[in-house]
């Protein structure tokens, strides 16, 4: 039941949390679309709301204190928000799967890997124990766990970090889901392992045709993996563009700042490292106007007073800024990354 190949459509999603400090608007009006087979990257600093967005898609937000207060989530034509919870459970794990940041704590330390893997297929695909067991072994092999037949009965603590993440990926892909959401899958891993895991995801995606949402704070990770990127800040989408375009001609000062902060030893030896000044805002007490205003190097009065509009640069490229077009033009002339500069 797909309409023009869009597998996930999120529209003005709002998820708020009730805390001791007041209402935290973790996600405040996010919209994006994901087509079948696409990979979407969601980039942002800690607290920008990226993880909450994805938990909201699967309705995994803990109800006190959090609540999805507005917007739509439409998965393959189904309105997820209005489904009864047991219908949502049928989708979870089967059609949408999620892998989390810390493989060490995301696997149940008390149960064998085989049990945890078998759970998914027995629940959603109706496998018998034997079938599920064999399928588990097959999945482990697919993700590259050596000696899968004997290791399948091991416990999580018997695997290394990278292996554990592979196991999580195996678990997520067991039922061949249409959408995989990877929430900072590599943040807790060593750099070399990071590359391996990302390759694995890329490879599996190509083989199984899964659509992927990749969440991270690391621009390097999304560069090679994604078709398009959303940049989030303070619960809002600040910019949204196809990957190449975002990197070469960003239309938002925040994005520019992010790109400039990535150190590039090949081109910037001897220069001071760039940092976006200041700190991410306290989302419980947002100022009026643009949330990025006080850290922005081109902020003007209007930025502090009025909330910026969502400007369309071209049909695929939007930016939340009073001066989006100006920044875009500027990026054409002065690309933010040295590499892009060199390639000009």
């Amino acid at each position: 039941m797909t309409n023009n190949g869009t597998i996930l459509s999120v529209n003005d999603l709002k998820t708020y949390f009730q805390t001791e400090d007041g209402v935290v608007k973790a996600v405040d009006g996010i919209s994006f679309e994901l087509k079948k087979g696409e990979t979407l990257g969601i980039v942002g600093e800690s607290g920008s709301g990226k993880s909450v967005t994805n938990l909201s898609v699967m309705r995994l937000i803990p109800e006190p204190p959090g609540k999805i207060v507005g917007g739509d989530v439409v998965f393959d034509g189904i309105d997820v928000r209005s489904l009864p919870i047991d219908e949502v459970r049928k989708i979870r794990g089967k059609r949408i799967a999620m892998i989390f940041q810390d493989p060490m704590t995301s696997l149940n330390p008390f149960l064998k890997i085989s049990t945890q893997l078998m759970e998914v297929t027995r629940l959603h695909l109706g496998h018998t124990k034997q079938q599920a067991y064999e399928h588990a072994i097959k999945m482990l092999k697919t993700v590259g766990i050596p000696d899968a037949e004997s290791r399948v009965d091991n416990y999580p603590h018997e695997f290394s970090g990278g292996m554990r993440q592979r196991v999580m990926i195996a678990m997520a892909l067991s039922c061949d889901p249409e959408l995989l959401i990877a929430d900072e899958p590599t943040t807790a891993l060593d750099v070399t392992i990071q590359a391996q895991i990302l390759e694995l995801i890329k490879d599996l995606k190509a083989r199984m045709g899964t659509s992927v949402i990749l969440i991270t704070h690391d621009l390097g990770v999304v560069a090679g993996m994604t078709d398009k990127i959303i940049v989030m800040y303070a619960g809002k989408v600040f910019e949204q563009a196809p990957t190449k375009e975002l990197f070469s001609t960003p239309a938002n000062p925040y994005t520019r700042g992010l790109l400039r902060s990535v150190p590039d030893p090949a081109h910037e030896q001897g220069k001071e490292l760039y940092q976006i000044p200041g700190l991410p805002p306290d989302v419980a007490h947002l100022p009026p106007g643009c949330p990025f205003a006080e850290r922005c190097d081109r902020a003007e009065d209007i930025c502090r007073k009025e909330f910026p509009p969502f400007v369309e640069i071209n049909p695929d490229h939007h930016s939340l800024c009073h001066f989006a077009k100006e920044v875009y033009e500027e990026s054409k002339v002065h690309p933010p990354t040295a590499a892009a500069r060199a390639n000009k």
Partner: protein, 441 residues
């Protein structure tokens, strides 16, 4: 003392939350400014340029304790407990004298009139009734409160002293010393302690306390000598064998022999010290002076303090050791060392305050458990003796007549239950307040 200042960047009002706050983030423009307390009365704010700030300190500016206190106050049950405890404490300290002043009755006043030597139900004259000897129960409850609470607090202090020292030493020394010390704790832990306490109290209670006192100097001397000798033995052992890790049989035999020799030496030293002190008759003279000054019932109470304290120090030691162990390896200790802070300063200024949290919580929870144990012992006849009373002993006495004179049990029982209740709530509240992770939204 919250000063109202203006943010240097955007002019919005900014409040400082404590006198130690160093960084302030403007809630409007999120500009960080440095607080300059050069002039105490008029602190100044200057914009922070470098952009590298510790977020946590900046945003709240309060210390760990202030924060915890605020959280504690928000917990209604804990506040309730605190209030009740405060009231109870007040009552038992000033209650008895006031009551005596008003009514002329004391806790152990036995009326001369034979007709009054009965247990009367509550009345205006006797708000909680009287017990079988005609003593006013209200007065006894107040008096008993003093003793119960005293027992609770002092026993907890005893167990704190023993437990914290033991645990801190074990935690800080680490390595095999820590191992051995904890094994000892484990072994002792497995023993049904109550049994030992019962034996201890029944054996040493009453007139026999003197014997214990007589032994005391020897015991203390023996312990001191023993600990010193053990440490010396360890030190010698390490110095001699520290560098040699060869595994030849000859080495092992030498090690074993010297180990045994040192252990024997330690024992001999302990024995020598003990008997020497014993010979001097120091103990006997102490015992005599003691019995002259202190009367029987009171000495029983002192004994209770120690006996009960000894029951709970084990877990306290474990808690403290655990804390010290985890703190020892944290980065702020390394940082302090790296900047040249001396060892005692490290222990007291850095480790102890951080270790205090669970210790306080556990101490607050030990008090009610000690009081319950005391009640239990009173029921068995081993606790507080007449004419002194404690809530436990009052309740124990009252139990006998529950069908006929229920007020004998109800009043002391309810009072004690209420106090224990409050203590538990307070302990829980403290635990929630000091450990942020268990916060409910």
């Amino acid at each position: 003392m919250l000063k109202e200042l203006s943010c240097p960047k955007c002019g919005a009002p900014v409040t400082l939350e404590s006198e130690r706050q160093q960084i302030v983030v403007c809630k409007f423009c999120a500009a960080p400014s440095v607080v300059d307390f050069g002039d105490r009365e008029h602190p100044r704010l200057t914009i922070e340029e470098s952009g590298v700030i510790d977020t946590a300190a900046a945003v709240s500016g309060t210390s760990l304790w202030g924060d915890a206190w605020k959280r504690l106050l928000k917990n209604k049950l804990a506040v309730f407990g605190l209030v009740v405890l405060a009231v109870m404490a007040l009552l038992v300290t000033i209650g008895p004298p006031i009551f005596t002043a008003i009514t002329g009755l004391t806790a152990d006043y036995i009326p001369d009139d034979g007709a009054l030597l009965k247990s009367f139900p509550p009345s205006l004259q006797h708000p909680m009734g009287t017990d079988e000897a005609g003593r006013d129960i209200f007065a006894r409850v107040l008096q008993g409160g003093r003793i119960s609470i005293a027992v609770g607090i002092i026993s907890t202090i005893v167990s704190l002293i023993v437990g914290v020292s033991y645990g801190a030493v074990a935690g800080y020394m680490g390595g095999s010393i820590d191992n051995v010390m904890m094994r000892i704790v484990d072994i002792i832990y497995a023993i049904p302690y109550i049994l030992i306490v019962i034996v201890l109290l029944s054996v040493f209670g009453g007139p026999n306390t003197q014997v214990l006192i007589a032994w005391l100097p020897s015991i203390v001397a023996g312990t001191i000598v023993g600990v010193a000798a053990l440490l010396a033995a360890f030190w010698i052992y390490r110095r001699v064998f520290g560098e040699m890790l060869a595994r030849s049989i000859g080495e092992k035999a030498i090690r074993l022999v010297s180990g045994i020799a040192l252990a024997v030496g330690v024992f001999l030293l302990i024995g020598a010290a003990t008997s020497v002190i014993g010979e001097t008759g120091l103990g006997a003279s102490l015992a005599e002076r003691y019995s002259d000054r202190v009367n029987l019932g009171l000495s029983q109470i002192f004994l209770l303090f120690f006996a009960l304290g000894l029951v709970s120090w084990l877990t306290m030691a474990r808690v403290v050791r655990g804390q010290i162990l985890s703190l020892k390896n944290q980065e702020f200790v390394t940082a302090a060392k790296a900047t040249g802070v001396s060892t005692p300063a490290i222990i007291f200024r850095h480790l102890v305050p951080n270790a205090l949290g669970p210790v306080i919580v556990y101490a607050t929870l030990t008090v009610p458990s000690v009081m319950l144990s005391e009640a239990f012992l009173s029921y068995l006849g081993l606790g507080v003796q007449a004419p002194y009373a404690s809530w436990g002993s009052l309740a124990a006495d009252g139990v006998k007549n529950i069908a006929i004179f229920p007020w004998q049990l109800i009043f002391p029982g309810v009072t004690m239950a209420l106090t224990l209740f409050s203590l538990n709530f307070l302990g829980d509240g403290l635990r929630d307040a000091l450990d942020p992770q268990t916060r409910k939204f």
